[in-house]
């Protein structure tokens, strides 16, 4: 689903990504780990078509970025640590806006479905401004799922969530994962990624320093794997 070859991203004289190779098969859930400043967000923004690669090739669902960005965007759902919502609109209105932007027709049934999934049905006509951080994050996930994307990108989705909200997010993520979506999630928190992912990749100093499948690791050696990747 995702194919990245020799991806380089420079901001002027600063090189953030120096030759990233990264492949994700359909149905995989990849946890992209790494310390703050390792380039995780930059990498995800490039996958999300919000930022252009300086060098290298990026293909999502067979389409090339940045040239076929519109096709990629139609197949992509993105959740960042900001909710990408409008505070002065209700949950329903926010979803309607995005349904229109994604060119969906007869979207009321789909919106109903999404609201049930994220458990915000009762609050659908309330302003997003009045929502808690956790509720906003759930709605953000609903927004990302609206158009049946093949690939979903999560950039630090747990940032700023309390324990209850995090547990709720776990439940939603698990229910999305079993539906067979391809998922990439960045995290600097190993514990969060541990239960969900089928693969762990570590991004360090602008390259993928290590990669391991779920069955190769267990709770005790995950930390050792991560630390070794950072120092290698």
């Amino acid at each position: 689903m995702i194919e990245v070859r020799h991806l380089v991203k420079q901001f002027g004289p600063k090189t953030v990504l120096r030759g990233v190779n990264f492949c994700v098969e359909r149905g995989e859930f990849v946890a992209l780990l790494g310390p703050n400043g390792a380039g995780k967000t930059t990498f995800l923004r490039i996958l999300a078509s919000l930022s252009r690669p300086s060098l290298g090739e990026v293909r999502i669902a067979g389409y090339r970025l940045p040239h076929q960005a519109a096709q990629v965007r139609a197949r992509l759902g993105v959740v960042t640590h900001l909710p990408l919502l409008y505070g002065d609109l209700t949950a329903q209105e926010n979803l309607e806006l995005y349904a229109r932007l994604y060119g969906l027709t007869d979207f009321q049934a789909r919106i109903q479905e999404i609201l049930e999934l994220i458990g915000l049905e009762a609050r659908r006509h309330d302003l997003v401004r009045t929502f808690s951080r956790g509720m906003q994050q759930r709605l953000a996930i609903g927004r990302a799922l609206l158009h049946h994307p093949d690939v979903i990108l999560f950039d630090e989705p747990y940032t700023g969530l309390d324990q209850d909200a995090s547990a709720m997010l776990d439940t939603i993520l698990r229910s999305i994962a079993v539906q067979g979506h391809t998922i990439v999630m960045t995290s600097h928190d190993l514990a969060r990624a541990e239960d969900l992912a089928t693969r762990f990749d570590v991004l360090s100093r602008g390259v993928i320093a290590a990669s391991a499948a779920r069955h190769e690791l267990n709770h005790t050696n995950l930390l050792a794997f991560y630390k070794q990747a950072l120092t290698s």
């Binding site: 420079q10 901001f11 002027g12 004289p13 600063k14």
Partner: protein, 231 residues
């Protein structure tokens, strides 16, 4: 950084000589203008600097477009160089015009289209540098800078026309004067001095432009080395 290429060294000498020659033609060779007197001699420098300022402004917008098309930061260095030189020459043109206007129009400043447009152009440049100062990422700084020079390049000629809707007393150097304007009559000798001044300032412009681009390249190199030593 490579040392100064030979062509640039020759150009440096040429630029200095052409300034001397232009000064000679303007102050000694050209006859004294009958109505305005000696102060009219400023005119040669005034038009020369204004012409070069305008050239720089057009270069800036042109290289801005090239940058947006190629996304190669070297064109941003060139575009900034053009803007900076243009700012300086426009300032000189306004100052010289002002000194000339004092005895001739009996005022330091009038809200004439040319003067006002020049002043507004300077304001656009100031806004341009403030915009760049507010952006950390060099790539975004270059993109936004290029977009702004293009907008400026398009709006300045319309500004000139818009101000002309109101009034003008600036003498017409080229073309025919419309009603209420004075035509500047040039003798052949004056015309020679005028052409010499235009050529001289063009050479000076190219010389400074080249130097400024080299400084910009050095600056980019310093940034790069700074990052390397930090990491």
């Amino acid at each position: 950084m490579s040392p100064r290429p030979l062509v640039l060294k020759i150009l440096d000498v040429l630029a200095f000589l052409s300034l001397v020659v232009a000064t000679y033609f303007a102050l000694i060779y050209a006859p004294t203008e009958a109505v305005m007197g000696e102060v009219q001699r400023l005119f040669y420098f005034h038009v020369g600097t204004a012409w070069v300022g305008m050239l720089g402004f057009m270069f800036a917008a042109g290289f801005g477009i090239v940058y947006l098309a190629t996304k190669n930061l070297k064109w941003d260095v060139v575009s900034v160089a053009a803007v900076e030189i243009s700012v300086m020459f426009f300032f000189l043109a306004i100052a010289l015009g002002s000194i000339w206007a004092r005895p001739v129009w009996n005022t330091w400043w009038t809200w004439d289209p040319r003067l006002t447009t020049a002043a507004i152009t300077e304001l656009i440049f100031i806004a341009y540098f403030m915009l760049r100062a507010g952006i950390e990422d060099p790539e975004r700084r270059a993109r936004f800078g290029a977009v702004y020079t293009i907008l400026g390049g398009l709006s300045v000629p319309i500004t000139f026309l818009a101000i002309r809707l109101f009034r003008t007393i600036h003498p017409v150097v080229f073309g025919t004067a419309v009603e209420g304007q004075e035509q500047m009559a040039m003798t052949p000798d004056m015309r020679v001095a005028f052409v010499v001044a235009m050529i001289a300032f063009s050479i000076i412009f190219v010389d400074l432009f080249w130097h400024r681009i080299r400084i910009g390249q050095l600056h980019a190199r310093v940034e790069q080395l700074k990052l390397k030593t930090m990491s």
